[in-house]
């Protein structure tokens, strides 16, 4: 069983703001699912390589060149931004002012 503190820690790592009630619910749900997942411990994986690709893949290369975007294409992207200033994405400051 996951503890409440562990559940809160996971929510913090996942950047999910959850209520106390939600933490309690996910603590139970995740514990149930992890209990089921424990089934994998039955499998003998000695000497087995971890999976990488289901099909054969090779490197896909392209010329290292700049791709041009039209004004309209850029405007479509900008119009989705929550806040802009002078055509740039505006973001809240990431450092807090230091109190003296």
């Amino acid at each position: 069983m996951l503890s409440k503190e562990e559940t809160q820690h996971i929510a913090k790592l996942a950047r999910l703001g959850l209520s106390e009630e939600e933490i309690g619910k996910y603590q139970k749900d995740l514990s149930d699912i992890l209990g089921y997942i424990d089934k994998l411990k039955e499998v003998d994986i000695e000497g087995v390589a971890p999976f990488t690709h289901s099909i054969e893949v090779s490197n896909v290369l392209r010329p290292d060149a700049k791709t041009e975007r039209t004004k309209e294409e850029l405007e479509k992207l900008r119009s989705q931004m929550p806040q802009t200033k002078d055509g740039y994405l505006k973001v809240r400051s990431i450092f807090e002012a230091q109190a003296d």
């Binding site: 996951l2 559940t7 996971i10 929510a11 790592l13 996942a14 950047r15 999910l16 703001g17 959850l18 939600e22 996910y26 749900d29 995740l30 149930d32 699912i33 992890l34 089921y36 997942i37 424990d38 089934k39 994998l40 411990k41 039955e42 499998v43 994986i45 087995v48 390589a49 971890p50 999976f51 990488t52 690709h53 289901s54 099909i55 893949v57 896909v60 392209r62 294409e73 479509k76 992207l77 119009s79 989705q80 931004m81 929550p82 806040q83 994405l89 973001v91 809240r92 400051s93 990431i94 807090e96």
Partner: protein, 472 residues
């Protein structure tokens, strides 16, 4: 002009012939489907967005082409519905999530570009489980879709809107996406056909990523011939998706096929009526001169546990981009940047998405990575090897799609594990990357039963041939 009912009964091939012979126009064809979709949407809710003007403008252009006597590709004028995690330039694209509620797609997904080049008419965007996470279309932030065969029941998921739209004849064909069964299970629940292509057969560019090593876009349609037509149109290499490749479909057809039936798929938990329907279909197939043999996929029972580690790990990384900063729902009242992340994501993601992001975050976190993620990837190797070995003996594998008939709305939504067990027969196919075609196989009462035909990597041709025989 034929009556509206007849127009919405047509397959792609029939509609194409009707358009070419000028029996009806592309506008009439689009309008018949749009009217049906609009009329039924309150009850079934297959569509999140019906784009009438947009569709009619496309249809008008096709009518002009017909009038000018230009070449008419098979898909020209064919009304199609698109799952709402696939971008259509200028249309809302929400993945049925509040976090993308007002998001307008800034470009076409590669599959949409290909459909448009062939003249397909896009009617709108279909409902789905939020970010394709679910097996019933009940986790949509905008309300559940109902099964057109029985409105009390779910249409399956996550591509439930697309399956319901095809079944209710609101479109001729549709696109969905399949990460663990999300095309095949709703196709089965709604009594239509659906294909999860080989991993790498179809570009995923422009489709909201859930679990990138498992996701594939594929078609849902009335029959296997139509599935093949749409698949041929959308597949192929794409500079924007390094995993998408070109390949030749095997041209030769066999006189008879050797089909394997995995013994691990017919054990406890499967509805005996579904098993009986599939066995009856296999007997019939054998009487046509084909061979049916029992095979073993010994690691089948571990697929679900393996999937929930791998899929949620990938989801927690893929969904990290929804940060409330660049686009989508943004908690602007939050006091600092960290609170913008926490509140935008806490408010924007629904309960199932949060559950899977939490699980993925946990299994990837320090100290647990080897115990969960690496172990799951090793089990995944064994699951794929099971298929490799089986395909040395058989041309294709036939299995159930879902262990149950369509269940009632609300029946499983509060019990995640029971809901996850819905995908027990579909998930190992995504883990192994092989293609699988779901086709209806009779009815139990009024509810459709279905089976899936699983093929070798890039051997869609064989499962289409077998599917065409089995759908009869």
């Amino acid at each position: 002009m034929e009556s509206i009912n007849e127009l919405t009964d047509l397959t792609i091939k029939e509609a194409h012939e009707g358009l070419a012979a000028k029996n009806f126009s592309a506008i009439e064809l689009a309008d018949a489907h749009l009217s049906r979709a609009e009329k039924a949407n309150e009850g079934i809710f297959a569509f999140l967005n019906i784009a009438r003007e947009y569709a009619l403008a496309q249809a008008k252009a096709i009518d002009q082409k017909i009038k000018d006597g230009k070449d008419l590709p098979l898909l020209a004028g064919i009304p199609m519905a698109i799952k709402d995690n696939i971008m259509v330039d200028g249309m809302e694209c929400t993945s049925a999530s509040k976090i993308l509620e007002n998001y307008i797609a800034p470009y076409d997904a590669t599959v949409i570009k290909k459909l448009k080049e062939r003249g397909a008419v896009i009617l709108g965007k279909t409902n789905m489980d939020e970010f394709a996470m679910g097996s019933s279309t009940e986790t949509s932030a905008f309300g559940a879709t109902r099964n057109p065969r029985d409105l009390e029941r779910v249409p399956g998921g996550s591509s439930g809107g697309s399956a319901a739209a095809v079944a209710a004849r609101q479109c001729v064909a549709a696109l969905g996406s399949d990460t663990g069964g999300s095309i095949r299970q709703p196709a089965c629940f709604c009594g239509v056909a659906g294909l999860k292509p080989t991993y790498g057969a179809v570009s995923r560019y422009g489709c909201a990523a859930y679990a990138s090593s498992l996701d594939q876009i594929g078609p849902l349609a009335k029959n296997v011939e139509d599935i093949q037509t749409v698949f041929e149109a959308i597949r192929g290499a794409d500079p924007m998706d390094g995993t998408a490749v070109d390949f030749q479909l095997k041209p030769e057809k066999k006189q008879k096929y050797r089909v394997g039936v995995p013994k691990e798929y017919f054990i406890k938990g499967i509805d005996p009526q579904i098993e009986a329907a599939i066995r009856a279909k296999l007997d019939e197939y054998q009487r046509l001169g084909n061979e049916v043999v029992e095979i073993s996929l010994p690691h089948a029972e571990y697929a679900l546990a393996c999937y929930y580690i791998i899929a949620t790990s990938e989801a927690s990384a893929n969904l990290a981009k929804f940060d409330g900063i660049r686009y989508g729902h943004s908690a602007q009242k939050a006091k600092n940047i960290n609170d913008i992340y926490l509140e935008s994501r806490g408010q924007g993601f629904g309960p199932e998405v949060r559950r899977r992001v939490m699980l993925g975050t946990y299994v990837l976190s320090a100290g647990y990575y080897d115990a969960y993620y690496v172990r799951a990837q090793k089990v995944r190797t064994l699951i794929k090897q099971d298929f490799d070995k089986a395909f040395l003996e058989v041309d294709a594998i036939v299995a159930p799609v879902s262990p149950t008939l369509p269940f009632k709305i609300g029946e499983n939504i509060n019990d995640p594990l029971t809901m996850y067990l819905q995908d027990i027969f579909t998930i190992s196919i995504n883990l192994a990357g092989v293609p699988s075609l779901a086709v209806p196989c009779g009815k139990i009462g009024d509810l459709p039963a279905g089976l899936q035909i699983i093929g070798k990597h890039f051997d869609e041709a064989t499962i289409f041939e077998i599917g065409k025989q089995m759908q009869r």
